[in-house]
Symmetry: C2
Subunit: 426 residues, 2 copies
């Protein structure tokens, strides 16, 4: 592993997402040696992945090199690695690059795509949880239209131009809106030989409203926006099967070659941690300082953790804010633990939630206020812009959004496939 | 193929590089139907590929969707396709998407990497002629440093941190300069645990000066700049072999795991065209209106063509300007041919040449003037910025360059591999 051994307690953090990045930033480098592991060399700003998938942004705008974030931090070591197993007796993490000893272990592995055991859907559906997956989806969408041009078979062409999105949470809703904008503003110019009226975008949601965590006002507003943009919203609708040509749903068949899976996530637990620490929803049961049930020096943050409270009996929402706040809070508590001081319990500060559907169409819930329309859209853009890591990314994103707004265009329409679907997908 | 048949002569253009893009832009859509074929759905601004490879720019800044360029053109059809063979008797191009009839055929296929028949070098070397290849090289450079961190074997580490660039033309020179900037400004912050003094950048050139087509002043100046930046420049040096660990050169051995091939290009001729139309250098012999020797209605532009003149007995330099000017000129002549008017011979207007080595270090030859230093560097930046296709790309590139200048940084350091070297490379 080649990590220098210091006379400092070592914190090993698994995952450079919102939670892992937050604790690594806040940890006091005078008092701890920090080792951050991630399978990529960059942090991914997941809320904007859908814009990479729909040609609105390039991947470099929403991803940020992890080394750069921590370049001024002392006693900090980042390694690209995959974790294989934890040996809690010896306090060692076994990884693709060798074993690493820890004094404190922080699990911030987030979630992967959950196909609920349906192997056929898993085989044919497109997930969108990482930069390579988003790039792959972008290429597939564009390739579909290139193929649609070549066929004289109208049924085949229609299947190529149709899209089924499963899951009406923020990802599915925002993706459906972005696809609808491609349909109305971009694709007619790119493909004048195609009849874009054939293109249908279906958004399927198993529950009885979109954006489950948001206010009723926002959910209904988002649904109306999508319908204005021509998206077919199917509530109370389950997908049962997909063979690459037809999606079987509880309401009937939908013909499409592309099914995008934004329906479920599952926490990524780690081998070697006692299974009894996991709740039924696959998240680690943690106490009020994020400590995993049954362990003294193992912690879990964000999506992979469930800190059960009266308000959140199954754990906090699996979005960025709880992960960030828990990470920052744990950094302080680790210091207290190390100094033998009393720790302070975590308190979640709900900063609100928001989703965007299209230009001038977004919904925002802040405390007891719900907003829609252009103002909500500007708030959405502003918040996301300032949340992006790094000045360069903010500026490039601002240029892209301004350009897209003025020109009704999405510029990043390159077909570059990081991998073929059949070969691999995570 | 599904391309509408119109009562217009059809021009089929193979390749959307500088030459193909220029003629497609200038062709009169009242008088011709245009079909443009390319294996990618984007135009690549090749002069800046090296910046993608060295984390300075994202691919979306230097590539531009071909459909977007021609979205307002009538009777224009773009298809993503690979050309297999031309049947000149029946005037048909056979492609991966089916046969296409042409009245006029324009070959603008450019050049591929030429390994001069050395299969071992081909197997282990990294080419850099396309966006996926440049992305792959960027990922490899960063992965090398990640690996260098993990090994305790100093020899192995040194090989990972060394780079051998073969070819002292503009690509090799600019790449060597960009790597040297990574070494001095970026990598020390990213990898504080590595001793960057171990990193060596070798630039090998078979001739007796760098930048063969440029003035002696510029060639010498570029060499001095590279040496200031710590690059080892080897003139009159041939590479004989490379096994992935050691490069055998005419001056001895160089230890490195990475050999970047910027040494040779070869024109990409097309099957079905009479081999006697090819010169020894692999380029099509064309007349003064770019017509391929022996054919009435087949033309060739840019790198793949050689219009022999007194000044250029082997054809014009294989850079952007001759391709662009020939493309624009041919568009006019096709119109004259079609109308039975007299064609006008092509005259090349040499706009000068330039190369950049690093911040404030560039060389520019304009007519009889040669310039170096910061002024040349600003001219280089300005010319490349205005030459980029599209407002968005210009703005994003400007931001990246300004950011890099102010911060001594290169922001696009993501490891995203479009393909594994072993699987495929073009």
């Amino acid at each position: 592993m080649n990590i220098p051994v210091k006379n400092l307690p070592r914190v090993v953090i698994i995952g450079g997402g919102f939670g892992g990045m937050a604790i690594a930033r806040e940890i006091r480098d005078k008092n701890f040696q920090t080792v951050l592991l991630d399978k990529h060399n960059y942090h991914t700003f997941q809320p904007l992945l859908y814009q990479v998938a729909t040609s609105g942004l390039e991947p470099d705008s929403i991803a940020y090199p992890l080394r750069k974030i921590f370049s001024s931090k002392k006693h900090f070591h980042f390694r690209v690695a995959e974790v294989e197993k934890v040996n809690t007796d010896e306090q060692i993490v076994n990884t693709s690059i060798g074993p690493i000893h820890y004094d404190y272990l922080v699990i911030a592995t987030g979630t992967g795509t959950n196909f609920f055991g349906n192997e056929k859907i898993k085989k044919h559906a497109m997930p969108m949880k990482s930069v390579p997956e988003a790039l792959n989806l972008r290429s597939l969408i564009l390739e579909n239209f290139e193929k649609a041009l070549l066929t004289k078979d109208i049924e085949e062409r229609t299947k190529l131009m149709n899209f089924v999105i499963v899951g009406g949470g923020p990802t599915g809703t925002e993706l459906a809106g972005a696809l609808a904008e491609l349909k109305s503003h971009v694709l007619p110019n790119d493909y004048p030989d195609l009849d874009l009226r054939l293109m249908q975008i279906h958004l399927l949601e198993a529950g009885d409203s979109l954006l489950a965590g948001m206010s009723k006002y926002s959910a209904k507003k988002a649904e109306n926006y999508l319908e204005e943009l021509g998206v077919q919203v199917w509530l109370n609708t389950m997908v049962k099967d997909f063979d690459g040509n037809v999606a079987q749903t509880s309401k009937g068949e939908l013909e499409s070659k592309t099914l995008i899976w934004a329906a479920g996530v599952q926490a990524r637990p780690i081998e070697g941690i006692n299974g009894e620490s996991l709740l039924k929803n696959g998240r680690y049961k943690v106490d009020e300082i994020s400590r995993v049930d049954g362990y003294q020096n193992i912690f879990a943050l964000g999506d992979v953790a469930a800190m059960q409270t009266d308000q959140y009996p199954n754990g906090h929402p699996q979005v960025a804010q709880p992960a960030i706040q828990q990470g920052e809070h744990l950094a302080k508590n680790l210091f207290k633990l190390e100094k033998g001081k009393k720790t302070t319990p975590f308190k979640y500060k709900d900063l609100g939630s928001m989703a965007t559907v299209g230009r001038n169409r977004a919904v925002v819930d802040l405390n007891n206020i719900s907003l829609g329309g252009a103002l909500a859209w500007f708030i959405w853009m502003f918040i996301h812009l300032i949340a992006l890591v790094g000045f360069r990314n903010k500026m490039v994103t601002l240029i892209n959004w301004t350009y897209a707004y003025v020109k009704y265009d999405k510029g990043a329409r390159l077909i570059i496939r990081p991998f073929e679907k059949k070969k691999e997908h995570v």
